[in-house]
């Protein structure tokens, strides 16, 4: 189903090439049209003009995983500094362990 955006982190990038996914991570580097986040490993982001991120803050994004392993961001939301990344990891783990609740295929 196209409306689903499974939550993933860096460990699941390969499995979700060409899929639209949802990622929570911490912004580590920010350039004009790209950024790096940490989500159980570094992920390179290709940004659009509408992306507003802050280095050090958490970000939630919906994006498409490119064959290169980069993620092209479709939408993103700043989450501020108080994000518990361990819970984010636990959610990604649960998402793929108990797929029935979260996504098809």
């Amino acid at each position: 189903m196209s409306e689903q955006t499974p939550r993933i982190n860096a460990r699941y990038l390969e499995k979700f090439v060409n899929h639209t996914v949802r990622i929570v991570g911490k912004v580590t580097e920010l350039y004009g049209d790209s950024a790096k986040i940490d989500a159980s490993g570094t992920i390179n982001l290709i940004l659009t003009r509408e992306c507003h991120m802050t280095v050090g803050n958490g970000v939630e994004l919906v994006g498409k995983v490119q064959p290169t392993g980069d993620v092209k961001v479709l939408s993103s939301w700043d989450l501020g500094p108080d994000v518990d990344y361990n819970i984010a990891d636990a959610v990604v783990d649960a998402t793929h362990r108990y797929k029935d609740l979260f996504y098809d295929v």
Binding site: E3, R7, R22, G58, A88, V91, Y98, L101
Partner: protein, 286 residues
Amino acid sequence: MSQYPSDLKRYGGNNYDTYGGGGGGGFYTGSQGGGGTQASPGSEAKGRGANTLRPVTIKQILETTQELADAPFKIDGVEISYITFVGRVRSVAEQTTNNTYVIDDGTGTLDVKQWVDTDAVGDGSAQQLNGQYVRVLGQLKSFSNKKHVGSHKIQLVTDFNEVQYHLLEATATHLHLTRGPPEQFAPAGDGSAVATSAYGQNRGTGDVVMGGTADAGGRLSNVSQNARIVYSTIKKDAESSEGMHVNNIRIKSHLPRDVVAKAVEELLAAGIVYTTLDEYHVAVLD
């Protein structure tokens, strides 16, 4: 998040605190299994669904089944009544009698309708939720085969961690209903629960006989593993009607002092034991 627990309590079934999942959260809102006394939640669930609040994902809502046209919806074979979920508002349509929100939680999208309070019409507050994460509390409806949720409450999520918390809570509830309670919460008297104590390896063999708790199984099903150990220690080794001194409980049960104190407090609160000579002597209430 801060106001939320009171709502949970109001809508949740009386099982809500059964497993002591902590003040704010608690995972087992939908435990229609009757605290583990019923072997098959699905078959006996009828009628209990009316008072439960279950955390779910939108995908679960979209996949609910109905045996007959007007029969209650079921998830994991268990009737649902009130449901709660957390998602981002994709769009808001304000109408004269109701507002319709399209909510997306990453597992699917769903329409949520909320009746407009006529006194508060047109304050524009609905549009402010657009793009934000909200927690929705409501009941699932179906109209011309299209599902929507009629909501009693749509509340802005101010702490992003609540989103993650909700997804884990929905997962835990699903697992609870499909696989039964986690082992350490299994009813007392069930032999399989004995080995799960964190202090199991420190206990001398034969010091604590758990089998003796069967007569209090009903009462003990709601207390912690440590409280059960303390209970069986008193039951087995108390020499008189004065019961047992907490220091002796500590020695016999091989539990640390603070753990014993906490367990005794728990048993006292549950009315399973009572104090005798002074506050340090505890006897089992038979």
